[in-house]
């Protein structure tokens, strides 16, 4: 009986992989880079290093998760770095000033993140304004608010103990943070491949005009993606703050480049209509291993940047080539 189930799951994975060859490609690239790093320095493959890598992959992956939906639907969310900042800073501020339980604080932070995402969504859908500028503007507003809220005291209880413990806890070999990320990745993949919302997201991204003619409420779909992006990005910020035990404006800055690169490496076209959640997961893994590999090779900051950019270009090129050859482009 279990064997039959395993075979069925295996078949599902294989057919999904065939539909999303870029995802497979990104995972393969991850393994290649990992092998290269280990060949250079055996400590790279140590359990503790892999754990650390998986945690940072989770931060990128979470930030990119909602963004993937936004991009597949044909939009773009550039406010992610400030949503991450918001997640961490709001968590810390609420912990200091509100005396409610941690779960409630978490809920509030994520809800507020969704609200901010909704602002993005409203501007994009109601005004019909290009998402690139609008989300940048909203990001600026968030930044202004965070700066106005003031700098955090560096001493004392910045981060709630519960979060700190969670950020450093593990279940078995996997850190809790990574588990959260992977669990949400499964949920996102499910949404994209098995729900009406997912189908509508692909339809809207592929051809908004046709989708509208088919009766899909294009604005509502796009709005939903921005709200989800707000939620995942602020969650990423919460976990990031828990891990690095501080929160400051600008801590999310690097994650915009990372998120978009991860999404592109995973085979999602920036113009929308194709892509997958697992592709972004694979892309996040690739990026994190790459970022870990380059310093190991002894490259200075400048060389790291050059190689990073070059590999991203190469990776995106091959992801798109793979998608064209193999996949039908959608699902999971």
């Amino acid at each position: 009986m279990p064997f039959a189930i395993a075979v069925r799951m295996g078949r599902r994975v294989v057919s999904a992989a065939r539909r999303q060859p870029a995802t497979v490609g990104a995972f393969v690239l991850t393994l290649v880079l990992f092998a290269a790093a280990t060949a250079h320095s055996l400590g790279f493959a140590s359990l503790s290093n892999v754990r650390t890598l998986s945690i940072f992959a989770a931060f990128v992956g979470l930030a990119a998760m909602g963004e993937t939906l936004v991009i597949i639907a044909g939009g773009l969310d550039l406010s992610v770095p400030w949503l991450i900042d918001f997640g961490g800073i709001a968590l810390s501020q609420m912990h200091r000033s509100l005396h409610i339980g941690l779960p409630l604080i978490l809920l509030l932070v994520v809800l507020l993140g969704m609200l901010l995402g909704a602002i993005n969504g409203l501007f994009v859908t109601l005004l019909g304004a290009p998402p690139l500028i609008v989300t940048l503007g909203v990001g600026g507003l968030i930044e202004g608010y965070l700066v106005a809220v003031g700098t955090l005291q560096s001493s004392g209880d910045i981060v709630p103990d519960g979060i700190e413990r969670f950020a450093n806890a593990r279940i078995g070999p996997l850190p809790d943070i990574t588990l959260v990320w992977l669990a949400l990745a499964v949920v996102t993949a499910f949404i994209l491949s098995r729900t009406g919302l997912g189908r509508r997201i692909y339809a809207v991204g592929d051809n908004a005009r046709a989708a509208r003619l088919a009766g899909i409420h294009v604005e509502r779909v796009r709005f939903a993606t921005y709200v989800i992006s707000g939620a995942t990005a602020s969650l990423s910020g919460v976990l990031l703050t828990g891990y690095i035990q501080t929160a400051y404006v600008g801590m999310g800055a690097d994650y915009l480049f990372g998120a978009i690169a991860a999404i592109a490496l995973g085979g999602t076209a920036l113009l929308g209509g194709t892509g997958s959640s697992w592709g972004t997961v694979a892309g996040a893994c690739t990026l994190t291993v790459l970022a870990g590999l380059l310093p190991v090779l002894g490259l200075n900051t400048a060389a790291v940047k050059i190689v990073y950019g070059a590999i991203i270009l190469a990776g995106v090129y091959f992801a798109r080539a793979l998608q064209k050859i193999g996949g039908r482009g959608r699902g999971a």
């Binding site: 501007f123 592929d206 051809n207 480049f257 209509g273 194709t274 940047k305 270009l313």
Partner: protein, 325 residues
């Protein structure tokens, strides 16, 4: 990716640049420009002297050049995130390879060529590699930034003294910066009548139609990115000359600012409408905002919120009242 429905092309935003018909974007930009200029002048009355005006233009000129570069890329419906990278490569080359030896000032021509090549690489990625402009220029931005950092890891270097002195001059009868600005606008005015420029506008307003009319889309887009690289390099050289030093970290701020300048100037992000004049105006609008916030000594969050809010306001009005596609 839009699959082609069997519908007639309905984007009707094309304009032949030979006529001086203002684009819709100018309608938002002009009052914004005038209001902010007046406010800035009221707050800093002594800015109206010729040296002060020249100094303002001098400080704004790198942004002006980068914004023009961004503008022509936006006109084709693309975007160039690597302008900051190309700019700093040219900037650090000016401060190191060209250096303070007056005899090697001729190398600046080669630096401009480097900018052209870096831009052409972008063009190749977009046209031949079929990359989306956003991701292509995102990647090249990292590469170019890294190259600049490798050439000059920390700010320093030296620039040709005579050329730098000339660039920094604000007391001549016609200060250098004013002269350069007028020259830039004159070149743009002439360039509008060229075929290449016409092709750019037609691609931006309706690419399918342009292709059917025989416009070589690939060659045009390639040229646009190459020219953008050239302009970004010019901006980098100029920045090095007016500061007499090189700095590989200064490019990043110009990227977003150039896009903001284009938006504030009224240029559409989808292409086909707007021009360098609007980009220049947008760059000045940003400069006025900077001036106002520094004079009023507003807390930092106020200026952040104001510029972000202004951006949303401008793009909102433009989008709300844009002709439907």
């Amino acid at each position: 990716m839009e699959a082609e429905l069997v519908l007639p092309p309905t984007k009707r935003r094309g304009m032949w640049p030979l006529t001086v018909r203002p684009s819709g974007g100018a309608l938002v930009m002009v009052p914004l420009f005038v209001i902010l200029l007046l406010v800035d002048v009221l707050l800093q009355p002594d800015i109206l002297t010729k040296p002060q005006i020249a100094l303002t233009i001098q400080t704004a000129f790198p942004l002006i050049l980068v914004s023009i570069a961004q503008c022509i890329v936006l006109l084709t419906g693309g975007i160039d995130i690597s302008v900051g990278g190309t700019m700093v490569v040219a900037n650090v080359l000016t401060a190191t390879w060209v250096g303070a030896d007056s005899g090697s000032a001729w190398r600046l021509v080669l630096v401009l060529l480097v900018g052209l090549i870096l831009g052409a690489f972008n063009g190749a990625l977009v046209v031949i590699g079929n990359f989306e402009p956003f991701i292509a220029t995102l990647g090249t931005w990292a590469i170019y930034d890294g190259v600049a950092l490798q050439i000059l890891p920390s700010a320093g270097g030296a620039t040709p003294p005579a050329l730098s002195a000339w660039a920094q001059n604000v007391t001549n009868f016609i200060p250098t910066s004013i002269l350069l600005l007028v020259l830039t606008l004159a070149v743009w005015w002439y360039w509008r009548s060229t075929n290449l420029c016409r092709h750019i506008y037609s691609i931006g307003s309706d690419e399918a139609r342009a292709r059917l009319s025989g416009v070589n889309i690939g060659k045009t887009k390639f040229s646009v990115y190459a020219i953008a690289g050239l302009l970004a390099a010019l901006a980098g050289i100029y920045l090095a000359l007016i500061t007499s030093t090189g700095d590989a970290t200064l490019g990043d701020g110009y990227i977003l600012s150039s896009v903001e300048a284009c938006v504030l100037g009224g240029i559409s992000l989808e292409g086909g409408s707007g021009g360098a004049g609007l980009a220049v105006a947008g760059a000045f609008i940003l400069t006025f905002i900077d001036g106002i916030t520094s004079v009023l000594v507003l807390p930092p969050w106020v200026s952040i919120v104001l510029s972000a809010g202004l951006l949303i306001f401008v793009i909102g009005i433009r989008s709300r009242f844009a002709k439907p596609t």
